[in-house]
């Protein structure tokens, strides 16, 4: 066998590494026969014609080594990145004493669910069932409200020609950069005058007025839909509302999904708003409850705090794992804060 043929075989072998692995698993005998001969030739070559072998394989070996080093660096750095999260997860399973004696270990001695059991009991006689229910309710309603209202507004901006459209659109975009602190105090005064303090209204009702980030994203999306669809429907006698509900809404599902994910995520993670507006511990959302639960002046059971922290992160993580593609797309295209 000439060197060229051998090189080609080797190249094929590298290229088809997946099929190679597959054939080794499913057709072991066949793979053995094929690769045994190939490998024997390669090894023979290295032993008896080292100079030729170096010329032929050197590049590939160096390439493979570089890839190996690259992946090793990326994985090592990635491990450092998620180390704290793994540590938190591990700590949530550690027993009372293990937390302090084996602080840095990433593998708990046993899967101890005591922390979860005692943590779930919560504080002041209110269990985390209440807090999770509260959070789910608030986040659920806010999500539906903000996505639906944003879609309506986005349709107006994307498809209807009206006086002052450009001006209002620019105003809307500029509000995205507004620090929320400026609105915080007057909004608080307004809501307290309306007697909304200690209710979920301040958390939910503002979401019914559309959110600029989502509106912007949906406008971009609607602009990508051919206007001929709207025109055809209009000729067929479809009203504006009909076009919106029957044509636009089904077509912008991906944008609706991305918005919904972010709306839920922001609402779930929100801390300042429930901190200001909710006084009654029974009405606390998970984030405020967790912060009170983890009050260093009263807590000694850190395992339970970690356990509840992990549970509070579960919905967010689930969203991330299930809809990673949409989230990545949303952030990449509009710069949404993740």
């Amino acid at each position: 066998m000439s060197n060229q043929t051998l090189a080609r075989v080797y190249r094929n072998y590298r290229k088809n590494i997946t099929s190679t692995i597959r054939s080794i698993i499913f057709y072991p005998m066949h793979a053995y026969r094929t690769y045994y001969h190939q490998m024997k030739r390669v090894i023979n070559n290295i032993i008896f014609h080292p100079a030729d072998a170096y010329r032929m394989y050197g590049k590939h070996v160096r390439h493979a080594m570089r890839g190996l080093v690259f992946h090793a660096i990326v994985i090592a750095f990635g491990f450092v990145m998620i180390y704290p999260l793994i540590w938190m997860l591990a700590s949530s399973f550690k027993g009372e004493s293990e937390i302090w004696t084996e602080t840095s270990s990433l593998i708990p001695n046993e899967l101890n669910l005591d922390n979860y059991r005692s943590g779930w009991k919560g504080f002041a006689g209110i269990s985390f069932t209440t807090f999770f229910k509260n959070s789910l309710w608030v986040s659920g309603v806010s999500t539906l409200a903000s996505v639906f209202s944003s879609a309506i507004v986005a349709y107006g901006f994307a498809r209807i020609r009206f006086t002052g459209k450009k001006f209002w659109f620019a105003v809307m975009l500029s509000t995205m950069m507004l620090p929320s602190q400026v609105q915080l105090i007057p909004q608080y005064i307004l809501f307290s005058k309306l007697d909304w303090i200690n209710s979920y209204k301040p958390l939910i009702i503002p979401r019914f007025f559309g959110m600029p980030f989502f509106i912007f994203m949906m406008v971009q999306f609607i602009r990508g839909i051919p206007i001929e669809l709207d025109e055809a429907a209009e000729i067929d006698g479809c009203s504006r509302a009909g076009i919106f509900f029957r044509i636009i809404l089904p077509l912008i599902k991906p944008a609706l999904g991305t918005s919904a994910i972010f709306a839920f995520y922001w609402s779930w993670d929100d801390f300042l708003t429930p901190l200001i507006y909710l006084n009654d511990p029974r009405k606390y959302t998970v984030s405020v409850a967790l912060r009170n639960f983890a009050d260093p002046s009263s807590v000694t059971n850190w395992g339970a705090v970690f356990a509840m922290g992990i549970l509070a992160l579960v919905p967010v993580f689930l969203l991330f794992i299930l809809f990673q593609r949409y989230m990545v797309e949303g952030i990449s295209t509009t710069g949404l804060k993740g």
Binding site: F70, I73, V74, F77, G78, M81, I82, P84, L85, W87, M88, W100, T103, S149, V153, G156, F157, I160, R161, F162, K165, V171, T175, M177, P179, Q181, V182, Q183, L184, I185, P186, Q187, Y188, I189, F208, F209, G210, I215, R240, Y265, F271, L272, S287, L290, R291, A294, V305, F306, G309, A312, L313, V316, F317, F320, V328, S332, T333, G335, K337, G338
Partner: protein, 322 residues
């Protein structure tokens, strides 16, 4: 002949009128529909944004006690006190500026390096991206802030490592030298969203540029500084503006890690935290809080404006592509 022409002209003008009327009607209808569709946002904008901001400006000239409801016009007293009589205010400004000016450049640097790293990965990109983005997805939550506090606690993870390395324990969260660095580290750790935006930006750069540079004998470094960086400046610009604004507004992390007080010695007393303390804490004065919020608004607007103006000199827009 003339009569026919006149008749025709009359017909045409009538037709024109009908068209114009129809157009007028359609235009009016469109205006109505347009404002109807954007009305949710428009109402929200006036009631929850514009009027509150205006109200906040008015409030900033008063002393307002929410409990008693007393409003007292004090003129510029709030601003005078803030700038001349409130050392805590200046400590808050210092902490915020230090935090923003250290964490944002570091965060963007990491984001860019990792994006470049992941851009070159052929396999497992999705997995790596998820791993690097994971801290950012959970970073804003209370759970992670609480965890961070415990990592740097006296019996926490970092001190465990210090002991293993033969060093002494340090009270990270109570030491005026280190406390703010725990927060900076936490912010840098969450470089996920600028990383994703950089990654999207890198994919936009045509590969022909790199190929051409390779033929001309350009190395990895000069390819990065001569092609990647200039073509990425719009994205860097965007990330810089957004991250700076976000970092000026940081609240949750500082609130949890410092126990809501900005300890030690106000070194982690971020501006938002101080607004919160002065407006909702003991002896709250919402007028003073509003004045602080307005100064923040002006400062952020100025910063954004300066970055925008300076962008003419360093942001490169690839006009050939458009």
């Amino acid at each position: 002949m003339t009569s026919v022409l006149q008749k025709d002209a009359g017909k045409f003008s009538l037709a024109k009128k009908v068209v114009a009327q129809k157009g007028n009607k359609k235009w009016r209808h469109n205006n109505l529909m347009g404002y109807l569709f954007i009305s949710p946002w428009l109402i929200g904008f006036f009631t929850l944004t514009l009027i509150p901001i205006a109200a906040s400006l008015v409030l900033s000239f008063t002393k307002y006690d929410i409990l008693s409801g007393d409003v007292e016009w004090t003129g510029l007293e709030n601003f005078r006190r803030m700038f001349y009589d409130d050392p805590r205010y200046w400590r808050a400004v210092r902490a915020t500026v230090k935090f923003a000016f250290i964490s944002v450049p570091l965060k963007l640097l990491f984001a860019l390096l990792v994006a470049e790293l992941l851009y070159n990965a052929r396999r497992l990109v999705g997995v790596y991206r998820a791993v690097y983005y994971a801290p950012s997805i959970v970073g804003g939550s209370i759970a992670v802030a609480v965890m961070w506090r415990q990592i740097f606690a006296s019996k926490g993870l970092i001190n465990e490592f210090m002991l293993d390395a033969g060093l002494e324990r340090k009270l990270w969260l109570f030491d005026i030298k280190y406390a703010i660095w725990t927060l900076i580290l936490m912010a840098v750790w969450q470089f996920g969203s600028p990383m994703l935006i950089f990654l999207a930006g890198l994919k936009q750069i045509p590969s022909e540029y790199y190929e051409a540079a390779s033929i001309d004998g350009a190395g990895t470094v000069s390819k990065f500084t001569r092609i990647t960086l200039p073509l990425l400046t719009p994205v860097i610009f965007f990330n810089l503006v957004m991250q700076l604004i976000f970092s000026f507004m940081t609240f949750t992390q500082a609130y949890v890690v410092s126990g809501g007080t900005g300890r030690p010695l106000d070194t982690t007393l971020f501006y938002s935290l101080y607004i919160y303390i002065r407006s909702f804490g003991v002896g709250a004065n919402m007028g003073y809080g509003s004045a602080m919020a307005w100064v923040m608004l002006v400062v952020i607007a100025t910063f954004t404006g300066v970055i925008f103006l300076s962008s003419r000199f360093w942001v490169f827009y690839d006009t050939a592509e458009n």
